[in-house]
C-alpha cells in the first residue's frame, strides 16, 4: 500500500483467541509498540485458519500474513496447532510455487504471557516484509462478486 508516496506494507495477523490474541493484548497493556501496519483478526484456534483466508488476503493486496498460535503441546483444543503447522507448511510451499516470497508468510508460537515476544515478532516481521517491497496481487478468478 502507498501512503503519501511512501510504501507501507499491509500485514494481516491471525491470532488464536487463547494465546497470541491475549499476548497481543498484553503487549498493549505493557505499552510495547509495534507498527500500525499490523491488523489482527481473532480466530478461535490456529487450526481455524483456512489456507483460503491467506490466499484471499494476497488477492486483496496484503503484503504479509502471519499466523500466531499456542506453543506446540499447549493448544487449548489439544491438537489444533499441529494441524495448523502442517497445513501452513503445505500452503507456504504452494505460495513459493506461485512466486510469493517465503518471507511474506510466517507461523509463530506466542503464548498469552509473551507480550514482549508478540511485539518483537511483529516489529521484525514488518521490517522483513517492508524490505521485500510491494507484493504482487494474486488474481481472483474464483470469487467474482
Amino acid at each position: 500500500m502507498q501512503v503519501n508516496g511512501e510504501y507501507k506494507p499491509t500485514i494481516v495477523a491471525f491470532c488464536c483467541n487463547w494465546c497470541s490474541y491475549a499476548g497481543a493484548d498484553l503487549s498493549g497493556t505493557n505499552r510495547l509498540t509495534y507498527p500500525d501496519n499490523v491488523k489482527i483478526i481473532r480466530i478461535p484456534c490456529s487450526c481455524r485458519l483456512n489456507p483460503m483466508f491467506i490466499l484471499r488476503a494476497f488477492q486483496r493486496g496484503a503484503d504479509g500474513v502471519i499466523l500466531c498460535g499456542c506453543h506446540p503441546g499447549d493448544c487449548h483444543y489439544t491438537t489444533g496447532n499441529y494441524y495448523a503447522r502442517r497445513r501452513m507448511t503445505l500452503l507456504f510451499s504452494m505460495l513459493d510455487f506461485l512466486g510469493i516470497e517465503r518471507e511474506r508468510t510466517r507461523v509463530e508460537w506466542v503464548s498469552a504471557a509473551e507480550g514482549a515476544k508478540f511485539a518483537a515478532t511483529m516489529n521484525e516481521f514488518t521490517a522483513q516484509v517492508a524490505k521485500l517491497g510491494e507484493n504482487k496481487r494474486l488474481e481472483d478468478l474464483r470469487c467474482k462478486k
Binding site: 499491509t10 494481516v12 487463547w18 494465546c19 490474541y21 491475549a22 497481543a24 493484548d25 498484553l26 503487549s27 498493549g28 497493556t29 505499552r31 510495547l32 509498540t33 509495534y34 500500525d36 491488523k39 489482527i40 483478526i41 481473532r42 480466530i43 478461535p44 484456534c45 487450526c47 481455524r48 485458519l49 483456512n50 489456507p51 483460503m52 483466508f53 484471499r56 488476503a57 486483496r60 493486496g61 496484503a62 499456542c70 503441546g73 499447549d74 493448544c75 487449548h76 483444543y77 489439544t78 491438537t79 489444533g80 494441524y83 497445513r87 503464548s111 498469552a112 504471557a113 511485539a119
Partner: protein
C-alpha cells in the same frame, strides 16, 4: 441489510489520547449499513450501556459494533447489555482499539486510521453475523482431585463436606504428600504429622471421598461438566480389599536393601513395604523393581507370612473409567536436584545434605530416630552451615530457577532454630542473599532464631565447600564486613529450590491447561482468578500453581473447592454457541472432519435426501453434537467440500474481515 450501530469508547484518555474518537465515529458512520454512530467517555459504564440500549430501540439496530478495549475484557459485558435490550448477544462485535491500537501507537493520525480499519473489519463481520442461541449441557456432580498431598486432601474434604462425591488420585502408595516428610512446621513449630495424619484419616473415612492410591491419570477427555477420565491403578501385587496393614510381610521380606524414598534414600526398606506407619491407605505394596519373586519367581515369603492371603503376584495394572464434572490439579512440587551445583560438594560428601534430607535427619521417624548425626560417620555435628537460595533466583546459568522458592527462608530459620534448641553446643551459620519473611508471625520467627537462639545470619553466599579430613571447608563471603570467611563445618545444608512435580507437564497436556515456562500451571487471571485454570472446569490447588507454604496451600485448596462447588451446584452449563455446523447438502461423507475432531463431537449417519425425479437418496452425512463441540474449527479447514463452517467465525465472516483490512 443489517442496521448497525457503532459505539466508539474513549476509555477516559486511554483511547481518546491517541485515537481521534470523533473522527473514528464520523468515518465509520459512512460505512454501508451503519445507521447510528457515536462516541462516549466510558461505554462500559452504566450511562454508556444505557446509551447503547436506547440506540438499539430508537434506531431498530440489528447489529452493534463497539470500538473499545479487548473483547477479552468487556465482550461479555456488552453482549449482556444488548441482550437486555432485546438484541441477540451474538450480534455484537468488538473492535479492539485500546490494547491493539491506542496503547501501542503514539502517532494520532496513524492510530486513528488503524482504529477506523479495525472498526470497518468489525462492521464487515457484523453484516454476516447471525443470531445464535446457546444450548446447555448437564453437569456430572462429581469431582476429581489429582494429587493427594495436603492441597488435594483439603480440596477433597471441602468438596465432600458440601455433599458431593470426590475422588483423589495419588501416584504414591499413600496420600499425604510432602507434608508427611516434614518434621515441624513454621512459624508455630507444631508437629506436621500431628496436624496432617488426622486429615488423611478423615479423607479415608469420608464416605463421599474415594482414594485411588498408587494410581495415575491415564487420559482425560471431554470438557467442563463432562470429563471422562481413565485412571490407571498400578499393580501393587497386594489385594487392597484383603490387606490389613499388619506389616508382617514388611518385616519378613528378605530383600532388605531397597533405598527408602520416604527417607530420601538415607536408609533402606524391604521390597514389600508400607511407606510409613501412618500411611493412608495402610496397605502394603511390592516394589516390582526389587522383589525377588517377581524378578526370578523364587521366594514367595511375603505370601507365606500373610495371614490375610492378600499377596497376588499375578496382579496387573487396572484401568478405571470415571465421569467427572470438575478436575482439581494438586500435583505439588519437588526440590530440584542439587547435583549440578558442584561448588557445594553435594555429590562428594554425604554430610552435605538438602533441607528435606535434614528434615528427615531431625525427624523422630527418620533414619536416625530424630538424633542429629552426620550421615558420614554418625557423629554429632558441632558446626552447621546453611546455604540459602541454592538454585533459586538463579537466572541464566541453566542450573537453577529464576524465581524465589518462597519457603526456604522460613524453613531454614526453622531448621537453624530447632538445631540450636536441641543441641545448644552447635554453631549455626546461615548464608543468605535476602531474608524474605512476609507472613503472619514470620519475621518475628526469623528474628527469634537470630536473637534468642543465636543463629549467625551472614549476608553473603557460600562460594565453595571442600571436604577435607572429615570436615567441610566452607569458603564464603560476608558482604557487610566486606571479607571472605572460612568455616570448618561438620555439615552443610542446602536450601534447594523447588520445582513443579515432573508429572505436571504431561498432565497439563492431557487437560489442555496452560503452564508457564517453569511448568507451573497458569491461573485464569493472576489477581482475580488465582485458583482457576484458563481451561474451563480445571482448578488449581497448592504448589502446582507456584511455590507456597502450608497455610497458603490450604487456603488455595479451599478456594479451589469453593470454585468446584460453584460449578457442581449447577444442573446445566450454558454452552458456547459458536460451534461447527455442516451443510448436509454439501457434505460428501468423507469423515475427514471426524478424524481431526479432538472431542469426538462429530458423528456420521445415513440420511434420506430428495433426489431428482422424485427419487430418494440415502447419503452418509456428518452431524455435530453442539454440547460436545468446543468450536476450535479444525474440521472446517479439514472439510474438502467446504461443507463445515463455524458459527460466529464463519468462512465468510473471516474473509469479510480480511477484505476490510486489505482494502
Amino acid at each position: 441489510m443489517q442496521r448497525i450501530g457503532v459505539f466508539v469508547c474513549w476509555c477516559g484518555s486511554n483511547i481518546a489520547a491517541t485515537v481521534d474518537v470523533h473522527k473514528v465515529a464520523e468515518t465509520l458512520a459512512k460505512e454501508p449499513g451503519v445507521v447510528f454512530s457515536t462516541n462516549y467517555q466510558y461505554m462500559c459504564s452504566q450511562a454508556g450501556q444505557e446509551m447503547i440500549q436506547e440506540a438499539i430501540h430508537t434506531h431498530k439496530l440489528t447489529g452493534v459494533v463497539i470500538c473499545s478495549c479487548s473483547p477479552r475484557m468487556h465482550e461479555g459485558t456488552f453482549r449482556k447489555t444488548c441482550a437486555a435490550a432485546g438484541l441477540n448477544p451474538y450480534m455484537v462485535e468488538i473492535a479492539n482499539i485500546r490494547e491493539q491500537c491506542s496503547w501501542i501507537h503514539k502517532d494520532m493520525a496513524e492510530a486513528t486510521e488503524k482504529a477506523v480499519i479495525l472498526g470497518r473489519a468489525a462492521i464487515a463481520k457484523v453484516h454476516l453475523n447471525a443470531p445464535l442461541t446457546a444450548g446447555t449441557s448437564p453437569v456430572t456432580k462429581r469431582a476429581l482431585v489429582i494429587g493427594g498431598g495436603i492441597a488435594g486432601i483439603q480440596t477433597a474434604l471441602d468438596i465432600a463436606d458440601a455433599g458431593y462425591e470426590v475422588d483423589i488420585v495419588e501416584k504414591k502408595p499413600t496420600i499425604g504428600g510432602k507434608m508427611t516428610q516434614i518434621d515441624k512446621t513454621f512459624p508455630t513449630l507444631d508437629c506436621a504429622a500431628c496436624i496432617l495424619t488426622p486429615k488423611m484419616v478423615d479423607a479415608a473415612q469420608n464416605e463421599k471421598i474415594h482414594i485411588y492410591s498408587y494410581s495415575e491419570v491415564e487420559s482425560v477427555k471431554g470438557f467442563v461438566g463432562n470429563f471422562h477420565v481413565t485412571i490407571r491403578k498400578k499393580a501393587r501385587f497386594v489385594d487392597e480389599t484383603k490387606c490389613t496393614g499388619c506389616g508382617d510381610c514388611t518385616t519378613k521380606c528378605p530383600q532388605k536393601n531397597v533405598p527408602n524414598e520416604f527417607n530420601l534414600g538415607m536408609d533402606n526398606r524391604r521390597a514389600i513395604y508400607i511407606p510409613f506407619a501412618q500411611a493412608v491407605p495402610k496397605i502394603a505394596t511390592i516394589d516390582a523393581d526389587y522383589c525377588t519373586m517377581l524378578k526370578t519367581g523364587k521366594c514367595g515369603i511375603c505370601s507365606k507370612v500373610c495371614a490375610a492371603g492378600a499377596i497376588d503376584y499375578q496382579q496387573k495394572d487396572q484401568l478405571v473409567e470415571e465421569e467427572y464434572g470438575a478436575i482439581v490439579v494438586a500435583t505439588g512440587f519437588d526440590p530440584i536436584s542439587v547435583e549440578k551445583f558442584d561448588e557445594y560438594a553435594y555429590s562428594q560428601s554425604p554430610d552435605v545434605v538438602t533441607s528435606l534430607e535434614f528434615e528427615r535427619l531431625m525427624n523422630a521417624a527418620g533414619p536416625t530416630n530424630g538424633t542429629l548425626l552426620r550421615p558420614s560417620d554418625k557423629t554429632h555435628p558441632h558446626t552447621l552451615v546453611f546455604v540459602q537460595c541454592v538454585g533459586s533466583r538463579c537466572d541464566g546459568d541453566g542450573r537453577g530457577k529464576s524465581y524465589c522458592s518462597k519457603i526456604c527462608c522460613m524453613y531454614t530459620a526453622k531448621h537453624a532454630m530447632l538445631c540450636r534448641e536441641k543441641y545448644p553446643d552447635t554453631d549455626v551459620y546461615v548464608f543468605y542473599i535476602d531474608v524474605r519473611t512476609p507472613g503472619k508471625n514470620f519475621d518475628e520467627f526469623y528474628r527469634r532464631a537470630v536473637e534468642e537462639y543465636g543463629v549467625h545470619y551472614i549476608k553473603g553466599q557460600v562460594g565453595k565447600v571442600v571436604p577435607e579430613n572429615g570436615k567441610l571447608k566452607v569458603q564464603a563471603s560476608d558482604l557487610l564486613s566486606n571479607e571472605q570467611i572460612h568455616i570448618d563445618a561438620d555439615m552443610v545444608i542446602l536450601a534447594a529450590a523447588i520445582e513443579p512435580d515432573k508429572s505436571a507437564r504431561p498432565l497439563a497436556t492431557m487437560l489442555t491447561a496452560s503452564m508457564d515456562t517453569n511448568d507451573f500451571f497458569t491461573e485464569a487471571h493472576p489477581k482475580l482468578r488465582p485458583v482457576e485454570s484458563p481451561t474451563a472446569g480445571i482448578f488449581l490447588s497448592g504448589a502446582c500453581q507456584g511455590p507456597k507454604d502450608i497455610p497458603e496451600t490450604v487456603a488455595q485448596a479451599s478456594a479451589a473447592a469453593a470454585k468446584v462447588l460453584g460449578l457442581l451446584a449447577k444442573d446445566n452449563l450454558t454452552c458456547n454457541p459458536c460451534v461447527a455446523q455442516p451443510d448436509e447438502m454439501m457434505c460428501n461423507g468423507c469423515s475427514s472432519c471426524e478424524k481431526v475432531c479432538p472431542y469426538g463431537a462429530i458423528t456420521y449417519s445415513d440420511k434420506e435426501f430428495r433426489g431428482p425425479n422424485r427419487t430418494t437418496l440415502i447419503r452418509r452425512v456428518a452431524s455435530v453434537n453442539p454440547a460436545v463441540c468446543q468450536g476450535c474449527g479444525a474440521c472446517t479447514v479439514a472439510c474438502p467440500s467446504g461443507a463445515m463452517d463455524l458459527k460466529g467465525f464463519s468462512n465468510k465472516q473471516i474473509m469479510a474481515e480480511v477484505d476490510a483490512i486489505c482494502k
